[in-house]
Amino acid sequence: MPPAPEPADTIFAPATGFGRAAVSVVRISGPAAGPALDALAGPRPAPRRLSLRRLTDAATGTLLDQALVAWLPGPATATGEDMAELHLHGGTAVRAAVLRALGAQPGCRPAEAGAFTRRAFLNGRLDLTEAEGIADLIDAETEAQRVQALRQLEGALGRQVAAWRDTAIDLLASTEAALDFADEGDVDDSGLDAALTGRAADLAQDIRKTLADGRRGERLREGFCVVLAGPPNAGKSTLLNALAGRDAAIVSDIPGTTRDAIEVRCDLGGLPVMLVDTAGLRETADPVEAEGVARTRRRIETADLVLRLIPIDAPEPDREGGPATLWVRTKADLATASAGQFRPREPRNPLPLAGRGGGGAEGTAEPPPSPPSSPQGGEERCVLPHDATAETLLISARTGAGLDTLLAAIQRVAEASLGGDALVTRERHRDALTRTVIHLDRVVAASPDYPPELTAEDLRLAVRSLGEVGGHVGVEEMLDRLFAGFCIGK
């Protein structure tokens, strides 16, 4: 076995996109790739040859699929580890079943995003210099994501952080000059003066403003999350499939079929949107279904937008508060006579971004940034019925009636939320910038008799946090600044 970068577990993930396709490939990487392959596909085939195998669920003995499998012993593999590939018949049900069976194998777990790339990198199979930007570019599913990834590669964030760091290094150099060259006649050793404190305050304010962007950048990376919720058999899965144009969820007429959330990533007008189908919301005694309902409630809480689906023939439900919500009457084809009653309308209320129950700490206190100049946007703010008096959309997923209007509504909410030039696209960056602000705040709050070496310490930590975003800062940079600005030397 090849030497692993860490006592590695084994990861697996679909290598091909979601949705309908003739073939769907699942990759497995790690020390248990071989045993897992044995367990599902029987005798291990010769290395690097596609062989036809019957895949069975090791636990139940159920036949999963007839598939081509490959055994790729490391280290000459994409990740540098032992790998196996399963070429399944296209179709989400088959794939879901195989992934479940793999998850039951000892030492195997689903791969988190980028895990294959990271292993490849750790094992020297890849040279990623601008790793994050490039990884995003590879991941970019939509035009908006691609543009953002390019911006990061070109250093939109890097440039901004470099400018901030520049200011912070200036402040640090002034402070250090008073500490390290106090014996020099030409250095003012009075420490931090008011001007310096003022600049630190301005800098903290600038960074704070950028942080108060409602996490647009991260959401653009992760996708705008739309949760489909409603009572069992409200047509959530049918709508999901219709919206995504794919057969992503298992659709049936038995209430309660979808017990776990199913995610479909799709592209709405260039914006990445993640559609999440959930278990139907109802009181239930079935513990499995109850767990599904609980999960649904959690998904709703963290959603960027919730589509509340109610069959057209069901009574009007209570409209409780919560995340931004679109109310949708489904199965319009069952009630043709009353179609006029629920005429789909252009929604028109402005959507306040702040204060939405988005669930995170971000985007709550700060007012929303000015509306983005999205291509269609102009000054027209995104509109959405978000309270009990709002309009209801009427659709039929089966006939397609009302779907365009619904899509347009979703797209507008997403645009308002994701549009604009987002700078901070990663949680790591946000964290570093948040720490920078904390240190600067302490500098600003320092009283005149606060020890200057402690102020210098906070400035140094601020410079270091900024350096974490854009590459590290050496003390030499500070000294360069210092010697350029002060005549040092007795």
């Binding site: 860490e6 210099t129 500490l179 106090a182 200057p452 402690l454 010697f483 005549c487 030397g489």
Partner: protein, 624 residues
């Protein structure tokens, strides 16, 4: 062995500030040591300004002292103007400094060398190294004598191909009146060492008897001089004052008019000088808009009329120097004893060394001081001590010692040198230390004396003194932790605290800026018996407590990366995915730990990830 060969464990070449510490440290560790110098009478000479310590440098002196080195004690015996710099700022950035009587300093240093058991002084010039089986095995003197040794420390200062510039005049010399070292420079060339060239300078020396002192502002010594060495009870040398004057616009005009005659501006010198110690030519060119630049007039000794005008280092021709001096307030009739000059010299790219100060190219060879691209007596002394200690340990077959950045300024300096190399003469600043709040002059002994004892370079007298001091400190600290007050009780003593009902220990109280030791001693009278040095020390710990806790976390993270060792034999070309640029950067330094690799300029996180994976892999296959 060669018939005329004399045998030692360690040979130290050079008797400057690096050389004496190297030789003394090697001898303390038990090595039979030879200190080879041109003339025994120049041992401990101060070639430039007559002062020891300062900001950042004072830390180094205290650390040398903590390892039982000589500089602190010798400076205490010869200091004539002790001043604690940054006294009004926090203890982490304070710097003890003294001017020294040049003659007293050399005398005290020579006495300390003479007293050191196992240390012989050999007069002569080392011309070449003896190399056997790819290792250094001794040195050859100019007169043909051969000295064999297990390790050699070279501390030749500015002597390697030294070239003095005064105006248009150039004189090959190591310092004024002494010839340059050419043979040794050729030896280093021959072995393939990467050599570079640096420049430094010194001001003209003045006859103090011709200075109009009455017209000058004077700077007094501290009333309560703080010694460098923990072994020094108190300073007994008489203390003197310095004069302060300034350059004027007339002086600046003179300099501008003659700039073409200064080798720095005529093209005679192209090598880099230190930015923090610029010549007066540089000051006028870069900061000529200033009204004037301060000059400190520092007497070179109690019985010596020579005065060192600190701040006007220059390489202008002598006639211009004379005109400049005459134009400076208070110096109208002042006689120049010796002109200022600039000196260019060879240095070895310190990235040729590892953190033990041994060269990778020639095992058994150690380098210390200006030859490594540093400047300053204190920087030299610190390196000398580490090099001498390690040379002796190598000769004796022991493991070599590395001091790290989280432990000492010595570690910061050496890591900076071997990781980044130098582009100008390297000087210590407190801002170079990221753990500045932890690495203070007041705890140097605590940080290093036990380590030095374990390494064999701390004598029994210091070890006993240290242990006694630690006991007093520990007792006082325990007492502070045991004593406590509620806010109500504090109010009875006139201390206004938050009325939160929380009991605060005396140690916590000490962290309040307005609560000093006196206030505590008024509440708990037995605290008055704690020696002031200990009280001061505990106050500092209390003031910094919050920051120190966080710094401890940083240090833990730092040590994690330092613990990932990169094998010396690591072949960067064999690491797939490492770009060519990264390979070149890494190969130039050959970092010994992942932490050091991360500190190399321009090494990307991606490259570090690969190195980390590689190091881990190496460990695993070693285990298998």
């Amino acid at each position: 062995m060669h018939p005329s060969e004399t045998s030692y464990d360690v040979i130290v070449v050079g008797g400057g500030h690096a050389g004496v510490e190297a030789a003394a440290a090697a001898a303390r560790v038990g090595a039979r040591t030879a200190l080879v110098t041109h003339r025994a009478a120049t041992i401990g000479a101060m070639s430039c300004n007559p002062a020891i310590g300062g900001l950042g440098k004072g830390h180094l002196v205290r650390e040398v002292d903590a390892l039982d080195g000589l500089m602190g004690r010798v400076a205490d015996a010869s200091g004539i103007q002790f001043r604690l710099l940054n006294r009004r700022k926090g203890p982490a950035v304070r710097g003890p400094r003294t001017q020294a009587d040049r003659a007293l300093y050399a005398r005290a240093m020579q006495a300390a060398i003479a007293e050191t058991a196992g240390l012989s002084v050999v007069e002569g010039e080392v011309d070449d190294l003896i190399v056997a089986d790819g290792r250094v095995a001794g040195a050859v003197l100019g007169d043909g004598r051969r000295l064999s040794a297990g390790a050699v420390v070279i501390t030749t200062g500015t002597f390697l191909r030294g070239l003095i510039h005064i105006g248009e005049r150039q004189v090959p010399a190591g310092r004024v009146g002494e010839g340059p070292a050419i043979g040794l420079a050729q030896t280093l060339d021959r072995h393939g060492f990467r050599l570079g060239r640096l420049k430094t300078g010194t001001p003209p020396r003045l006859d103090g008897r011709t200075i109009d002192w009455a017209a000058l502002e004077m700077q007094q010594a501290d009333a309560d001089p703080v010694p460098f060495s923990t072994l020094t009870e108190r300073i007994t040398t008489p203390q003197i004052a310095c004069g302060i004057t300034r350059t004027t616009q007339d002086v600046h005009d003179l300099i501008r008019a003659n700039l073409h005659r200064s080798p720095m501006y005529s093209g005679g010198i192209s090598s880099r000088g230190p930015r923090y110690c610029p010549s007066i030519e540089d000051k006028v060119v870069r900061f000529g808009d200033r009204e004037g630049h301060q000059i400190f007039l520092e007497p070179e000794g109690l019985d010596d009329p020579t005065v060192y005008p600190n701040g006007i280092s220059t390489a202008l021709p002598e006639d211009v120097q004379a005109a400049i001096i005459a134009a400076i307030p208070g110096l109208a009739h002042t006689r120049i004893v010796r002109p200022g000059y600039a000196i260019e010299y060879d240095y070895v790219d310190p990235r040729e060394l590892d953190a033990t100060l041994q060269t990778r190219r020639l095992p058994g060879l150690f380098l210390a001081g200006q030859i490594n691209g540093t400047t300053g007596y204190e920087e030299a002394a610190g390196q000398g001590l580490v090099a001498g200690l390690n040379a002796a340990r190598l000769a004796g077959g022991s493991d070599l010692a590395v001091f790290d950045r989280a432990e000492s300024y010595l570690g910061v300096m050496i890591d900076d040198l071997v990781t980044h190399g130098v582009s100008e003469p390297y000087r210590m600043f407190t801002s170079r230390s990221e753990y500045r709040l932890s690495l203070r002059v007041d705890n140097a002994d605590e940080r290093l004396t036990p380590r030095g004892a374990a390494l064999g370079c701390v004598g029994s007298a210091r070890a006993a003194h240290f242990a006694a001091g630690q006991e007093v400190l520990a007792r006082a600290r325990a007492r502070l932790d045991a004593l406590s007050l509620t806010p109500n009780e504090a109010a009875l003593h006139g201390l206004a605290l938050n009325r939160d009902g929380l009991r605060r220990s005396a140690f916590q109280l000490l962290s309040y800026p307005e609560i000093g030791w006196d206030r505590l001693a008024a509440i708990w009278p037995d605290l008055a018996e704690v020696p002031p040095r200990i009280a001061e020390r505990l106050r500092t710990d209390a003031t910094y407590a919050v920051y120190l806790d966080r710094q401890q976390a940083d240090i833990a993270a730092f040590r994690r990366d330092e613990a990932v060792r990169l094998p010396a034999s690591l072949d960067y070309a064999a690491i797939a995915g490492l770009s060519n640029e990264m390979r070149i950067k890494l190969d130039g330094v050959r970092p010994t730990t992942l932490g050091q690799a991360a500190r190399i300029e321009g090494v990307t996180p991606a490259a570090l990830t690969l190195l980390a994976a590689h190091a881990r892999r190496g460990r695993e296959s070693a285990r298998a």
